[in-house]
Subunit: 201 residues, 2 copies
DNA sequence: GGGAATATTCCC
DNA sequence: GGGAATATTCCC
């Protein structure tokens, strides 16, 4: 299963431009590039449209059953559509499943990074309460910066230690279960052995 | 694949008591009831604890690989833990993966409906503006003091983590040597066994 | 442990 | 098509 579509990480919750397109976009792009993939009888399941400005799902049923689960954690056509809508794609034909997004074009995988989710602003709070977050640390003096820096490092180390701890704990759990199995195995072999010896007498 | 854990529907977004427990809770309950399910060699992977007031994941590795994907759309132990935390479960042993929730008890599937997600109130302030420790508004007027304090705490935590790591590593070393001994013992017993059998012929 | 982003589901 | 809940991931 293709699960190498992580977002690269590093800037969760920031409003900076991400280095990587959303996994959903990459997967959708790639499943189109995978291209020729055909159903059992040679017909295309999904493909770019003529000029590569959009794509067409020729067979939603096969697309759901065969294509979706290879890229996503589901096989529901509606969930796929929901994602398309979330990212601002438009259905451009009432006759067939054809979708477009200005920044989603054949040959332009690099442009995907321009596509963003339509975020349903929590809307409870007026936007002026949201700080823009960039450009607010511009004038810290050196000591603060220093503090901040070592603080940063400590947090980093801390985080890594916790990750390591989890891994070690899991290793230990495995050892415990392995030990149990070995002991059982041993006792079985010995039982077996004893039985045979007894039969010999 | 068991996908019959829909929430019954009808009241999305309402704050009324739902008729059905969250799918996550039902699945977790059911995978425990499925009960006896064992790994390849008869050891339990996961089970209720002694009095049914909580449950224990005996083998995180097998639990992730074998159990999780049969109930969820993933095989990550951490995602499972994340959900437990979301629903307010507590890890009640530092020595093993044992979790409890007041309303999650053996034989009380009906009580699951009482368990709700902790909803992260859509707080007005971005999280990075929140200071990490509780009760820091007391009187630490100077921000420096505050900095110092959290720095202190971080260092303390760091130290403890390293100590813990050492202990875990030592435990692992012991397990390794134990494993070796067991394997040797096993092979000896089997050799011995085989010799006798041969002499018999 | 938990905040927050993305993914999936469910419903209007 | 989209709002909103739950699920999964990623990060602190």
């Amino acid at each position: 299963m293709a699960e190498n579509y992580s977002n690269g990480g590093g800037q969760v919750g920031q409003s900076l431009r991400p280095r990587c397109p959303a996994p959903f976009l990459l997967k959708t792009y790639d499943l189109l590039e995978e291209g020729g993939v055909a159903d059992g009888s040679g017909g295309k399941i999904v493909s770019w449209n003529g000029d590569g400005s959009g794509f067409i799902v020729w067979s939603p049923a096969e697309f759901s059953d065969l294509t979706l689960p290879r890229y996503f954690k589901h096989n529901n056509f509606s969930s796929f559509i929901r994602q398309l809508n979330t990212y601002g794609f438009k259905k451009i034909s009432s006759k067939r499943w054809e979708f477009k997004h200005e920044k989603f074009q054949r040959g332009c995988r690099d442009m995907l990074v321009e596509i963003t989710r339509k975020k349903g602003e929590p809307s409870v709070f007026p936007s002026y309460l949201k700080s823009s977050s960039e450009e607010n640390a511009t004038t810290s003096n050196s000591m603060e910066e220093n503090n901040n820096n070592s603080h940063q490092l400590l947090m980093e180390e801390n985080k890594n230690l916790k990750k390591e701890r989890l891994e070690l704990q899991m290793q230990i759990a495995e050892f415990k279960s392995l030990e149990m199995k070995l002991l059982e195995c041993l006792s079985q072999v010995m039982d077996n052995h004893q039985n045979k010896s007894r039969r010999q007498c």
